[in-house]
């Protein structure tokens, strides 16, 4: 192993040691000091776009304000994350962001899980001294899974960067200048006509209500959902994800940075491919074929028929005339029971699964 040299610095009066090459933000987080961020996502390169992670660095008589997310911690630094100067600046930065952001939290999908809302509350920013009105609004398009509200975008660039750095699909970028700046596709094309693969990584990293899961719109806010940690049922990577549930319905799928093995990343199937769960085609009752047609039956009728038939075949032809196919759709526990059933109950080793196909 290559030994990375350590450096020493002081943050809010606390002395700490950290590996060289880490940022001030990482150093602060490592000792439990929280610095607010909007444009920062630990999976992405530092961007320093939102400016709310500003901290004060002592430099003799001329203290300077610097962004902590992209400044490397160096030996002997003295940092203050909550000085009056820092708090005042942070508040002004929030005012600037809010000058171009609608104040419609009461109807916003992101209410309760919006990072901007949290910061505005924390720093008590009720009004912005700046006068610009946010323009744009919800984009009405045929995209079935991603809803975009251009008025809510705070230009943190997380969607643009996750698309470029992690997905490497380069489907969206910044457009225009000044207050007209927005994120979008070339020539305003539909995402369908770009390199977008509908992974929804942009939705998952958006800190505000600008990009949301369209299928979950109007179904509730985050605090109303029960989040159930589970493992994706599609490919063999086994991504960790959270089913957001209200009543007896899975409303959306979310992910968290730091989970194994996917670190909060999901693909289109994992993030948006859950709607089959509530599809009207789901089988809801056992079916028994009578005269070539399926008829609904009770569990008792169906299971008794199976038990009788398997016993008959076993008695007449022997257990080796019966087989069981289990599959990857089943859990380990279910696969184990399927093979135990085949061996201990039917009395044969004719058990196989879908690995060959």
């Amino acid at each position: 192993m290559v030994m990375v040299p350590k450096i020493k610095l002081t943050i809010d009066g606390k002395a700490t040691e950290i590996a060289k090459g880490k940022t001030i933000l990482q150093a602060a987080n490592s000792i439990g000091i929280n610095i607010p961020t909007l444009c920062h996502d630990p999976r992405l390169e530092p961007f320093a776009g939102c400016r709310v992670c500003m901290v004060e660095i002592e430099r003799g008589n001329t203290n300077a304000l610097i962004t902590s997310c992209n400044t490397e911690a160096t030996d002997g630094m003295t940092i203050r994350t909550n000085s009056e100067k820092v708090l005042k600046t942070r508040k002004m930065v929030l005012e600037l962001i809010l000058s171009d952001h609608p104040k419609d939290c009461m109807t916003c999908e992101k209410c309760g899980s919006c990072k901007l809302q949290d910061l505005a509350y924390e720093y008590n920013v009720r009004e912005s001294r700046f006068f610009e009105q946010p323009d744009g609004g919800v984009v009405n398009d045929r995209n079935p899974v991603i809803q975009k509200d251009t008025s809510k975008c705070i230009l943190c660039g997380r969607c643009v960067r996750i698309c470029a750095e992690i997905q490497q699909d380069y489907a969206i970028d910044f457009k225009n200048r000044g207050f007209d700046t927005e994120t979008g596709t070339p020539f305003g094309k539909s995402l369908l006509d770009t390199t977008c693969v509908l992974c929804g990584q942009c939705v998952s990293t958006c800190p505000v209500g600008s990009l949301v899961e369209k299928q979950a719109v109007g179904k509730g806010r985050e605090w109303e959902f029960k989040q159930v940690k589970t493992t994706c049922a599609y490919c063999g990577v086994g991504c960790t994800m959270y089913l957001n549930v209200t009543g007896n319905q899975v409303v959306k799928v979310t992910s968290k940075v730091g989970t194994i093995p996917n670190d909060g990343n999901l693909c289109i199937k994992g993030r948006f491919g859950y709607d089959f769960i509530h599809h009207p085609d789901r089988l809801k009752q056992p079916l028994v074929k009578k005269n070539g047609k399926f008829e609904e039956a009770t569990w008792d009728e169906a299971l008794n028929l199976i038990a009788t038939k398997f016993r008959e075949i076993k008695a007449k032809h022997g257990p080796e005339h019966i087989g069981v196919f289990s599959s990857s759709r089943c859990t380990n526990e279910e696969n184990y029971l399927a093979m135990k059933f085949t061996r201990a109950v039917i009395g044969t080793n004719n058990v196989d699964q879908c690995a060959r196909t």
């Binding site: 995209n143 079935p144 899974v145 369908l192 509908l198 589970t230 049922a233 599609y234 490919c235 063999g236 990577v237 086994g238 194994i260 693909c267 289109i268 199937k269 994992g270 948006f272 491919g273 859950y274 769960i277 085609d281 789901r282 089988l283 809801k284 009752q285 056992p286 074929k289 569990w299 299971l303 008794n304 199976i306 038939k309 398997f310 016993r311 087989g323 069981v324 196919f325 289990s326 990857s328 759709r329 089943c330 859990t331 380990n332 526990e333 279910e334 696969n335 184990y336 029971l337 399927a338 093979m339 059933f341 085949t342 061996r343 201990a344 080793n349 004719n350 196989d352 879908c354 060959r356």
Partner: protein, 533 residues
Amino acid sequence: MSFGSGSMTNSISEIKDCKLIFLIGGNPTEAHPIVGLEMKKALRKGCTFVVADPRRIWFAQHAKLYLPVRPGSDNWLLNAMAHVIISEGLENKEFIKTRTEGYEEFKAFVKDITTEKASEYTGIPAEDIRQAAGLYATSEKSAIFYTLGITEHTCGTDNVRTIANLALLTGHIGKHSTGVNPIRGQNNVQGATDMGCLPDRMHGYQYLSDSAVVDKFEKAWGVKLSRTQGATSPTMFERMSKGQFKGLYVIGEDPVMSEPNQNYTINGLNNLDFLVVQDIFMSETAKYADVVLPAASFAEKDGTFTNTERRVQRVRKAINPIGNSKPDWQIICELSNLMGYKMDFPSPKEIWDEIASLAPMFAGINYARIEHNGIQWPCPDTKHPGTKFLHEGKFTRGPGKFFVLPYRAPAESADKDYPLILSTGRTLYHYNAGTMTRRSAGSTYKTNDCFVEIHQVDASELGIFDGETVKIATRRGEITARAEVSDKVKKGVIWIPMHFVESAVNKLTKDAYDNITQTAEYKVCGAKLEKII
């Protein structure tokens, strides 16, 4: 096999630190998107990619070297790479001496497998094969990744062993970010084999041929067990087609869509006296059943899945079963009780405890330990942290074994009547038989019809334009699909995804199987394409 156990030798988290990735017969950005992201991370960090595939997939476009290999000729490519490594003195002599056996025979065998000969079979320039071998052998951290493009052949096992030969030759195994990694295609396909849904072994890869194993299970389960090896699914279908098989219980599989040669599969199912299908939808297979049982989906049950890196992870119940459906484990228990064998597990947790008590490799895993993060088997006791990569220091089987494997042609390839090679696979937007994703808005928005990829030169010879519906036929059947004309797929090859029931590509594929694993040859058969007038 070559090393002694079949699974990824490295973990997903090690991918980003690879210095060279040799990707053969796999398309991670579509079939395993999150593994694809880790590889993209490696790419950003300067990892060299060597990609062998008949299709110009995403990583082929970003590779240092792209080898457009003709389907079914991987053996030539891999053996010729071994030839180059030995003839240029790039082999790891120390590793070969201390950790392998069978090297001399192997060396003598590959002596004649020159890059020029390999070039004729594979369609790859000889110089590129030489360069690929050099890059692979000399990189500090080389990892090979492969998936079904390697295994879904009549010579699938041979292919896997030929890949292993390269790792043994160079010592690129058993280290961080260095190894041989098959990526499993389906969520719990690793778990299904781990749990002993195999005709010759119990869970934890404990063979029935070992009478001590059977004795152990007879004692634990309190029942006399058959010691005769069972039949694999292809063998069961063969017996069905001859009317020598009477009852089948299918749980969560859709063989009509996923087995090769659909007519043969349907014919087999029709010959059964009694078919039970347990699924969440009326699958194509369920239509032939006598009884269909409604199962609960993954969101409606507790349990565990094991991912491709051997990590046992929790699945948690989020909602109650839809309608009158029940989780598979509960159905099996009830059926078993009815048939006179008591299975009274209150929940999947107790089932797992029985699993762990009967297989040493899972002995250290329990629900409390995997509450937050999964654990990678083997994990022999509750203090063991799990196993990140296999074969460090020594192989499961002792010394790693070189196999001498001459080329075997596919069961059927292109010929005069069927001049194109048909290969099949998966796409990003859909999953296998499409039962789930065809009912999902996002996926169907992106793709909702079957397509056939064809090279522009082949298309122009046949007078076929991009987007037109064409007929594809093999000796077993025919389907129609939309033509996607480009230079993505190699000339002489066509490629069709497997998800679309209305154009089921397995009407076309051949029921020919690997001699050892009995995996079907989905990746090569002869086909022809016709314009519909």
